[in-house]
Symmetry: C2
Subunit: 336 residues, 2 copies
């Protein structure tokens, strides 16, 4: 009853150290899991030794090359044969792993997922679903940049896939789906959002209607659908502003309370709790939904805890067989 998950040990700003430590954490938490650490054998072994790993449910799968964060995704995948991202993805392709996790180059992951694994039947485009936790309840935003120039039918499929993901991972029975737009009325927005709005009304989804940017944080929906260009900017603006506010807050609090005051450690706690709420990297990464197999893309700056969480999400998606549900639902819509 062992599930194997491939982990790109070389991907991310803090790889291989934090990735290996995250895998160790996950391997300890889930004895029924086999973690396949994909990467440069010596470097990975060294990190395992550094934490005195003695367990049996981690194995190393060698991969000599690494796709760097700045590499051009498709080109790197083509030229750097045998990169850790490619080898990890092929483990899923050949059935040796049920899922793969990477904190590496997002574009390379998307390319590996769509080219090597391929899309699920009837799925027109894969998309990345990120979960925002700043509101009272988590909200899944999809797509945040797997593709651009979407058509209405792509956004409808994102709505279906993100609904099934939210149901499986966030335990929301009947997720409310919103369409990200610049006004609440149906006929607001650009041609894409108008056409998508009309099309959503005809689906069986729990469609809430349009939502504006601020409503991502108001818990009016469980799923927010958008085109990848817009979604990526939403993600980056949120990250940038949250970080910036923590910096500003540190400055103003320092001025008000005096640096080095007895409250300082207290403040640090407050700030790190706040950061956790708005930082999606804490929460287990983002699935590339729509591909054959489970792929979780973790934030580039992921530390061990985030990697362990991402592995946990990968396990859950595989166990609940979300891809089977996606295939059924998408097929049902396509048959209509």
């Amino acid at each position: 009853l062992t599930l194997s998950i491939a982990i790109d040990a070389m991907g991310g700003d803090r790889a291989p150290r934090e990735v290996v430590r995250g895998a160790v954490e996950a391997a300890r938490q889930h004895p029924d899991l086999l973690c396949l650490l994909v990467g440069q054998q010596g470097a990975v072994r060294e990190e395992l030794d550094a934490v005195s790993w003695k367990g049996s449910n981690i194995e190393i799968v060698p991969a000599d090359h690494v796709i760097a964060m700045g590499d051009s995704p498709v080109e790197a995948l083509r030229k750097k044969k045998g990169s850790s991202v490619e080898v990890a993805t092929r483990l899923v392709k050949t059935g040796k792993a049920v899922a793969m996790v990477s904190a590496g180059n997002t574009g390379a992951c998307v390319a590996a997922g769509t080219i090597l694994l391929g899309l699920l039947p009837e799925v027109r485009r894969a998309g990345i679903a990120v979960t925002f936790h700043a509101g009272d309840r988590p909200v899944v935003v999809m797509d945040v940049g797997a593709s651009v120039s979407s058509k209405p039918e792509h956004l409808i499929q994102y709505g279906i896939m993100a609904t099934l993901y939210a149901r499986a991972v966030l335990n929301v029975e009947n997720p409310r789906v919103g369409l990200l737009n610049i006004g609440e009325e149906g006929q607001k927005g650009n041609p894409l959002s108008k056409a998508t709005h009309s099309m959503f009304l005809k689906t069986q989804l729990n469609f809430h209607g349009n939502v504006e940017g601020a409503e991502i944080f108001h818990s009016v929906c469980d799923v927010v659908v958008c085109e990848g260009f817009v979604g990526n900017i939403v993600l980056k603006v949120s990250e940038g502003l949250a970080e910036r506010m923590v910096v500003l807050l540190k400055q103003t609090l320092g001025e008000s309370f005096g640096n080095g005051s007895s409250d300082e450690r207290n403040l640090e706690n407050v700030l790190s709790r706040l950061r956790e709420r708005v930082d999606y990297s804490e929460f287990g990464g983002a699935p590339l939904l729509g591909v054959k197999g489970v792929m979780i893309i973790a934030h580039g700056r992921s530390e061990a805890k985030a990697i362990a969480n991402a592995i946990g999400v990968a396990k859950r998606l595989a166990e609940k067989d979300v891809n089977k549900r996606i295939t059924e639902e998408i097929r049902a819509v396509s048959d209509n």
Copy 2:
């Protein structure tokens, strides 16, 4: 040497009270200014009496109708003849005022500006320029929703207009212009951003290249150009997240320090200073650039101080004759 500025006394969540008080504040600060308060005479008079206004540089211009925040802009403008937005705009059109300020329905302002005032020569589309102050230095983002489905040439004109605005109002000699995109390399993004990037490289603007969403807060540019649909979502996401973080912070700080503790007032100060940094409504509203005349759209929830600031910005744009500079620069580019 008196400058007249028309103020939509009925526009905004807190109109007419806060708008009238803002006009009074501005009239006191700028004795060379004549404020024309446009709205329902009785209501405006009452607010002036409430603050015992005795000065001579405020006049009431009657307008019987009000366009509500939820009204459909173009339709309301057509059906509600003699609304305060329309009358204020016509004062600019007929030269009785050099500028108008409104905290009312944004869409109605944009419609009034483009339809009643008309576009400056060679300007293809008007755009709203909002200034973000969360970074170390202010950043002008344009367009945040005056129009959607832009073409590259529209975005180039936004770059020119926002540059001249930043020079006049933010006192930046040679503003650096960034193009909002989902990656730094020139060939990233969607067809619009790719084409716009190439076109920006051929202009005389101080073009920095692409910027990602987070960089709005990193002070790498003074101007960030984007299409109105994306810009509006950036604006709303920023507002929503900033508000939400203040709420979360209040909760976590309350838990850490104990509600009602001696530090509580101190915390309130910190939070309100933080809110000021991220809330653009404090900073004088956003100009609709590209129309014949000066129009400043203030945030719907503007209080007196924000209205007074918006009137100050309107005065500055008129005095510096930014529209003349826009006309010259746009013409120079069109002649090439």
